[in-house]
């Protein structure tokens, strides 16, 4: 009887061990993403005031397709973007400055401004790229030369930043 009891306990231990031993299983899933086209901006046309006379304000309208500054944007089709600007308060020439007193802007989904939307560059805007992933932005401004403004070529940099 004693040997039988021992045998029973050994068998029980073996079976219990088999029943309770750590059991592991695993499975996997996939994380997926579709990254869209990166956004790109090109300064396509300079804002050109042409000849400016001392004491005579000169305005270039944002709707002036020849002289307004223009940025061309490309990216993911039909995606909304946010545009913002760094705008100079003056133009400079060999240590002389000439004030820019106001800015205007237009954005459109074509390069002819058809159906374009006016906006304030100082405030920025939130347009959308067109179905081909393109957007055009124009900037106009007014310079205010002093009556004794020194002659010369005056320049300044306008920077536009676009983010999705």
């Amino acid at each position: 009887m004693r040997s039988m009891t021992k045998l029973t306990l050994v068998a029980a231990a073996l079976v219990l061990t088999g029943t309770l031993q750590a059991q592991t299983n695993n499975a996997s899933i996939t994380a997926t993403a579709s990254v869209q086209t990166p956004i790109n901006v090109v300064g396509a046309q300079q804002l050109s005031f042409g000849n400016v006379f001392p004491g005579v304000n000169k305005t270039i309208a944002a709707t002036d397709l020849t002289n307004a500054g223009r940025f061309d944007v490309t990216g993911q089709a039909s995606s909304p973007v946010t545009i913002s600007f760094t705008l100079p308060a003056t133009l400079g020439s060999a240590g002389n400055t000439m004030p820019i007193v106001s800015y205007t802007g237009v954005h459109a989904q074509n390069n002819a401004q058809t159906g374009g939307t006016a906006f304030s560059p100082a405030a920025g805007a939130s347009p959308s790229l067109n179905a081909s992933g393109a957007l055009w932005v124009w900037v106009g401004a007014q310079v205010q030369p002093a009556t004794n403004q020194a002659a010369g070529v005056y320049t300044g940099s306008i920077t536009m930043t676009v983010v999705y």
Binding site: M1, M4, T5, L7, T8, A11, A12, L14, V15, L16, T19, L20, A22, Q23, T24, N25, N26, A27, S28, I29, T30, A31, T32, A33, S34, V35, Q36, T37, P38, I39, Q76, S79, V163, Y164
Partner: protein
């Protein structure tokens, strides 16, 4: 003594036949199934995309069948990056509450936990649970366009 012998053999026989007398529930096979992947969908360069573990359409889901009322260890193998076109990489991150355990297999009833830390949970009496996973994709501003993928592995161990 003869009676005792008979009882002992019956007990041994029952055990060898795999009929544990009081452990039938814990003997349930452990299975883990990947039900749904984490889907970020369209991601814009420079714009992080977050998928919550409570998102019924985009969160990842594993279903587990295991021990009734038993403690189980959940541990993940998590990717650091997703792989895209021409080997392009995009970081993927998991927050401290981006995994969720549901004893009712309901996405609306989860207990959050850190998928980066092995976590012990107690199974319900029916032995069926679900684990949900969220994550954040962090594309760079010049992230190459295209499809990106990564693998998330859940390992489940009886304790």
């Amino acid at each position: 003594m003869t009676h005792m012998k008979r009882e002992s053999w019956v007990l041994i026989g029952a055990m060898l036949l795999g009929v544990p007398l009081s452990l039938a529930g814990q003997g349930k096979p452990l299975t883990v199934t990947g039900v749904r992947g984490v889907t970020f969908g369209a991601v814009l360069p420079g714009v992080p995309r977050v998928v919550l573990r409570t998102d019924p359409a985009n969160s990842g889901q594993f279903d587990i069948k295991g021990p009734k009322g038993g403690p189980v260890l959940l541990s993940f193998v998590l990717p650091l990056r997703m792989t895209g076109p021409a080997g392009a990489l995009m970081p993927i991150a998991f927050g401290s509450s981006d995994a969720g355990f549901s004893a009712t297999q309901s996405i609306g009833s989860q207990v959050g936990f850190d998928p980066k830390q092995p976590t012990t949970v107690i199974f319900p009496n029916n032995g069926n649970v679900s684990v949900f996973v969220g994550a954040t994709a962090n594309p760079g501003t010049n992230q190459r366009a295209g499809a990106y993928t990564a693998t998330i592995i859940l390992t489940v161990t009886y304790l």
